[in-house]
């Protein structure tokens, strides 16, 4: 086998490895329950849209959860960026020793298993009356996303030549103007990739959403999908789960396709000095 062939085979295997669960999901979503149980027998009614029908005919309608999750995701991303860009900027401008300590703290916070927090957060929600409110839900989400977001964006700011901001000062731009005209446009790729990571986290988050939201019409996607099972413990609606997951993935795939270039360039920013 030549070098190239070997490489291509490896890539192919990796792609298969990562895509198979998704294909299985897609396959499951179009299968009737009988077909799922006996995949190799010849069943007359193997393919069906019933799973999707079931998902969409639920009350409240399924698109409602998509909207809820999107709203929380947008709020979270917006709040996170709004705080993390100035925070990252100050992190870069701090004296080195303080900055290093702050980074260490941020990194350990980013690595903290947040599941340990959700009971305490629930107490907060209760005492501050933040339950059943999508905007309020995005507060802990942004809080949890901030450490990583600040670290990502600060490394992007750090990679900008210091001359640029100084030239802007000489040009007469004040801090806000430097943000608006120089800094933010230049770190846009890093902001885009950070935004995606934050949005993904918020889109997939389960325990906090489960405990903070109890009203049916305010549920986010992961919680709503988990509820498809209804009251029965004995039958698991695999088909409906799969259908809901497929629908829930579509917005993410669209976002990924649109911002693919920015995400990659943002994540590799600073890897190579130009």
């Amino acid at each position: 086998m030549t070098e190239l062939n070997r490489r291509n085979t490896t890539i192919l295997l990796l792609i298969l490895w990562s895509i198979t669960p998704l294909i299985w999901q897609l396959y499951t979503s179009f299968c009737s329950p009988e077909a799922l149980i006996s995949p190799f027998e010849n069943i007359a009614k193997r393919w069906t849209l019933d799973n999707y029908r079931q998902v969409f005919q639920a009350d409240p309608p399924f698109w409602r959860y998509l909207v809820n999750s999107s709203l929380v995701g947008i709020y979270t991303t917006f709040i996170t960026l709004l705080i993390s860009i100035p925070a990252a900027y100050s992190l870069v401008k701090l004296p080195r020793r303080i900055a290093n300590v702050s980074k260490l703290v941020l990194t350990s916070v980013a690595l903290f298993p947040y599941v340990l927090l959700f009971l305490a957060l629930l107490e907060f929600a209760r005492s501050l009356n933040l339950g059943n409110n999508l905007l309020a839900l995005s507060i802990p989400y942004s809080g949890l996303s901030l450490p990583l977001a600040i670290l990502l964006i600060s490394s992007a700011i750090k990679d900008l030549p210091a001359d640029l901001e100084e030239a802007a000062k000489i040009d007469g731009l004040n801090l806000w103007q430097r943000f608006r005209w120089i800094l933010v446009p230049l770190i846009a790729p890093a902001c885009a990739s950070t935004a995606i990571i934050v949005f993904l986290f918020s889109w997939n988050e389960y325990p906090i959403a489960l405990t903070w939201i109890s009203k049916d019409e305010l549920l986010t996607l992961p919680v709503a999908i988990a509820r498809l099972a209804g009251s029965s413990v004995y039958s698991v609606p695999y088909g409906a789960y799969a259908a809901a997951t497929v629908i829930g993935s579509i917005p993410l795939i669209i976002i990924m396709i649109i911002f693919q270039k920015q995400i990659v360039s943002g994540l590799t920013q600073g890897a190579v000095k130009g």
Binding site: D163, K169, I170, W181, I182
Partner: protein, 325 residues
């Protein structure tokens, strides 16, 4: 319109990178801050621009104390060594940004931009991104930005060091005409003594944060106050010879002549430069550089001499010049 630095000093940690610097630059004068890397010349420029704060001392521009005024308000036109063009804006918007921020109307912006673009022959490049420009073009855009700032003072930080030698020589007269024709003081930082001599009315030679000597290029060349100045100004470098105890004799390569009964020496290296040739000779005083005519065949053993009046004498202990009458 003049710039005065009074007892300017800056300390980083325990190290004084600039110490008690006193300079003044007259209107329309170009002062070169010259020195090896780490001598504090760029740091001085940053203090004047307001990008750093001095530990001690004051800066006066037009008689006004600007030491504590923000760089945003200093009205300084600065050209950075890296040019620092905004990479996400095309040439036109790079230049227009400062005007826009200062609230100049779109019509005036366009008028002034067209003027400067024409002056610097950038008209055809106004829609190019900085990354699409050559080094010389980038330098011109950076210069245009400084001109558009309407400055009271120009600061140039090694503006030519990223250009190749040919382009540098081409751009010198252009830069002189553009900036030195005006009535503002100009501070020009460079590590290249030849460039300083070509561009500046006066040169301030710095060493380890201190002013070593200030004067016209001619003064520095003809009457260096220390061995450091003598060694830094003039290429090929001056020869230092220890002929008698306690005294260092400096003699420039072009002042060394052949003679029948002079100092015996041997050629160890020859460089033919076209218009002249450089000889490196070994004598009992050590290595001696000498410049002679190009069209000369030279035997390997020769005798050297020079006129006493061309000698620069320095004290060996303090390295300072002994003033001749």
């Amino acid at each position: 319109m003049s710039l005065n630095l009074e007892n300017l000093a800056r300390r980083i940690g325990q190290k004084w990178i600039i110490q008690n610097l006193n300079l003044n630059v007259d209107p329309g004068e170009c002062l070169a801050l010259l020195g090896p890397s780490g001598c504090g010349k760029s740091s001085t420029l940053r203090l004047i621009a307001g990008l750093d704060k001095p530990t001690r001392g004051s800066i006066y521009l037009l008689g006004k104390d600007i030491t504590n005024i923000s760089p945003l308000k200093r009205r300084v036109g600065m050209v950075f060594q890296s040019y620092a063009l905004y990479p996400h804006l095309d040439v036109y918007n790079n230049l227009a940004l400062g005007l826009k921020i200062r609230g100049i109307s779109i019509k005036d912006q366009k008028h002034r931009l067209d003027n400067v673009l024409g002056l610097l022959k950038l008209d055809l490049l106004s829609n190019y991104m900085p990354s699409q420009l050559s080094g010389g073009q980038r330098q011109r855009v950076a210069l245009a930005r400084a001109l558009l700032r309407d400055p009271d003072l120009y600061l140039l930080d090694e503006p030519m060091s990223n250009l190749d030698a040919q382009l540098r020589e081409d751009l010198r007269p252009e830069l002189r005409n553009l900036i030195l024709g005006n009535k503002q003081p100009v501070v020009y930082v460079t590590h290249d003594q030849q460039e300083a001599m070509a561009m500046a009315n006066r040169i301030a030679l710095l060493k380890e944060g201190r002013l070593e000597q200030i004067g016209t290029p001619k003064e520095l060349y003809l009457r260096p106050r220390t061995t450091f100045v003598a060694g830094f100004i003039g290429r090929p470098q001056i020869n230092f010879i220890k002929r008698e105890p306690g005294i260092i004799v400096g003699i420039r390569p072009e002042d060394v002549k052949f003679s029948i009964d002079g100092l015996p020496s041997k050629i160890i290296h020859k460089e033919w430069h076209g218009s002249n040739q450089l000889l490196l000779l070994d004598s009992k005083f050590g290595k001696i550089r000498m410049i002679t005519k190009a069209n000369m065949d030279i035997p390997s053993d020769i005798n050297l001499t020079w006129s006493k009046s061309k000698e620069h004498l320095f004290r060996e202990d303090s390295k300072e010049a002994i003033i001749k009458d």
